[in-house]
């Protein structure tokens, strides 16, 4: 417990994390007028949130008022808003819209936010579930970083033979396993709502599953070795390095050359990391995403550090 009292890391990381999670959930999601029409035509959803700027006031009625509004692609449409809402020209609104095809206007059932600080883009068919990208992607990143770090520690251990690096490699693997499980679970929940099933052996799902198997095999190997601590650590480190050789194939090569539903498979460009160096992601979304990647990495490093301290104490006694 002394560690918790003596260092303020946990407060710092906790506070940053709370702010980030708040931003992830509090930022409204807004699409375009075309999204509303497409989703309604395909019977996905009647009401879809739209981000639009008020351009002009229009026709008045007793309870409702027409406005001319422009969405993020510059398409101008008429929207019908309740009179109780006070909207000025130039206001940016995020509003739930329903397309009325007969008179070609958009009926606003609820205004979610007027002049929001920032908005997230709508992913068609996912809606609010699109927020998952802010958690799922950073977790997968950390799973890779954890594997990389465990391998680096294993290499340092094999060069220096200091048991401390073995503890670090073990801790990084254990916390990495946790993040891999989290990435798998969030991805699986997402797949349930966007692809229809929790699991369908998509290449990405296969590769993360194999990653899980490798981590589990690493700990299984440790527990079954009948050797002294130093030799055990050496053999486990060698397995870690051999396993890491396959990770680039599993995480970067195979999912990109095979057909898959996951973004970034063969024929499509990955939205976040790809060879052409362009992000196909909304700037605000990618900003929050990369902030979360950094925060999750910090969280991972801090947890790894704590676990290393526990392992060190255990082995000293």
């Amino acid at each position: 417990m002394k560690f918790f009292r003596s260092t303020p890391y946990h407060l710092l990381i906790g506070a940053l994390f709370a702010v980030s999670v708040f931003i992830c959930f509090a930022t409204p999601i807004g699409g375009s007028f075309d999204d509303v029409v497409t989703l309604k035509m395909n019977n996905v959803a009647n009401i879809t949130p739209v981000k639009a700027t008020i351009m002009a006031t229009g026709y008045d009625s007793v309870s409702k008022k027409f406005y001319q509004a422009k969405d993020l692609y510059g398409t101008e449409r008429r929207i019908l808003v309740d009179r109780s809402q006070n909207l000025n020209i130039g206001d940016v609104i995020v509003a739930d819209c329903n397309y009325i095809a007969s008179d070609s206007y958009f009926d606003v059932s609820r205004i979610e936010r007027i002049n929001p600080v920032m908005t997230l883009p709508l992913i068609q068919g996912l809606g609010e579930l699109g927020r998952n990208i802010l958690f799922h992607v950073p977790m997968s990143f950390v799973a890779f970083i954890a594997f990389l770090l465990a391998t680096i520690y294993s290499i340092i251990f094999l060069r220096t033979k200091k048991m401390d690096y073995d503890y670090r490699a073990r801790a990084a693997s254990a916390i990495g396993l946790l993040f891999t499980i989290l990435a798998t679970v969030t991805g699986s929940i997402w797949a349930r709502f966007s692809w229809g099933t929790f699991w369908n052996w998509d290449p990405r799902e296969t590769s993360i599953f194999i990653l899980l198997l490798i981590y589990v095999a690493y700990f299984l190997l440790r527990s079954l070795l009948e050797e002294g601590e130093e030799k055990k650590a050496r053999i486990a480190a060698v397995y870690n390095i051999i396993a890491f050789v396959t990770v680039p194939f599993l995480m970067f090569v195979l999912p990109r050359i095979t057909q898959s539903l996951h973004p970034g498979s063969s024929g499509t460009e990955a939205p976040v990391i790809n060879l052409s160096g362009k992000t196909h992601t909304d700037p605000i979304l990618s900003y929050i995403l990369w902030t979360n990647v950094v925060l999750f990495t910090l969280l991972f490093l801090w947890m790894t550090n704590l676990f290393t301290i526990v392992l060190r104490k255990e082995n000293e006694e």
Partner: protein
């Protein structure tokens, strides 16, 4: 000049013929099990190549695991450590395993061609190329990992658990390449990616195995 370790292993193998006969029997049993459990089925190319590689990988895991475990069981590993350099031991065992996987692959091709009507290779040259690359990858992974588990308890169960996740890129690329060789007569275009993966994977795993071997071999 052949590696002395390879010569030693070959001599032991020729004396007992245990390794080869066990592996050939394993393949035969696998093939007949497939035939019994799916009699008269029309097997498509995708499933055919999957069955082929599953039999080959598990055959390799059962047969090749013995290379270091048998030294450990006979108590001869200490002598090997005394008399031979780790590099020589690694390359000797690697070459012996490679020969074993090649003979296993040849047996598998003969059995599959004999027993399955649907096992028809259109592009034999490319099929052989990807078979060789797959065999090299299998041999290098199993060599280093069987040295790794030689001193663990539950060796028999532990080796597949350790090896199969590591072999997955190999499994995916080689099953895909075999399927393409069965489907098209001129398969280089479709197979190029798989061959590239197999080749780079073989090089990476063999080099890593060679560099790290002395760390698990020394006491």
């Amino acid at each position: 000049m052949l590696s002395p370790i390879l010569r030693k292993d070959l001599r032991i193998e020729l004396r007992s013929r245990f390794g080869v006969s066990a592996v050939v029997m394993f393949l035969l049993v696998t093939v007949t099990t497939i035939l019994f459990s799916a009699p008269g089925e029309q097997i498509n190319t995708g499933l055919m190549s999957a069955l082929f590689w599953i039999s080959l990988f598990f055959g390799a895991l059962t047969g090749l695991a013995r290379s270091f475990i048998s030294e450990e069981e006979r108590g001869t590993s200490f002598l090997l450590r005394l008399y031979a350099e780790p590099e020589d031991v690694f390359w000797g065992k690697y070459l012996f395993n490679l020969l074993l996987v090649f003979s296993l692959a040849i047996c598998a091709v003969i059995f599959f061609a004999f027993f399955f009507r649907d096992f028809a290779i259109r592009d034999f040259g490319m099929f052989v190329l990807q078979l060789i690359l797959g065999a090299i990858g299998t041999s290098s992974i199993v060599t280093i990992l069987s040295a790794l588990v030689a001193r663990a308890s539950q060796k028999g169960a532990l080796l597949p658990v350790l090896a199969l996740p590591v072999m997955v890129p190999l499994v995916i690329a080689s099953t895909d390449a075999t399927r393409i060789a069965m489907e098209t007569a001129n398969s280089w275009e479709g197979m190029r990616g798989d061959i590239l993966i197999l080749f780079s994977f073989d090089v990476a795993v063999t080099l890593v195995g060679y560099v790290l071997f002395h760390l698990i071999w020394q006491e």
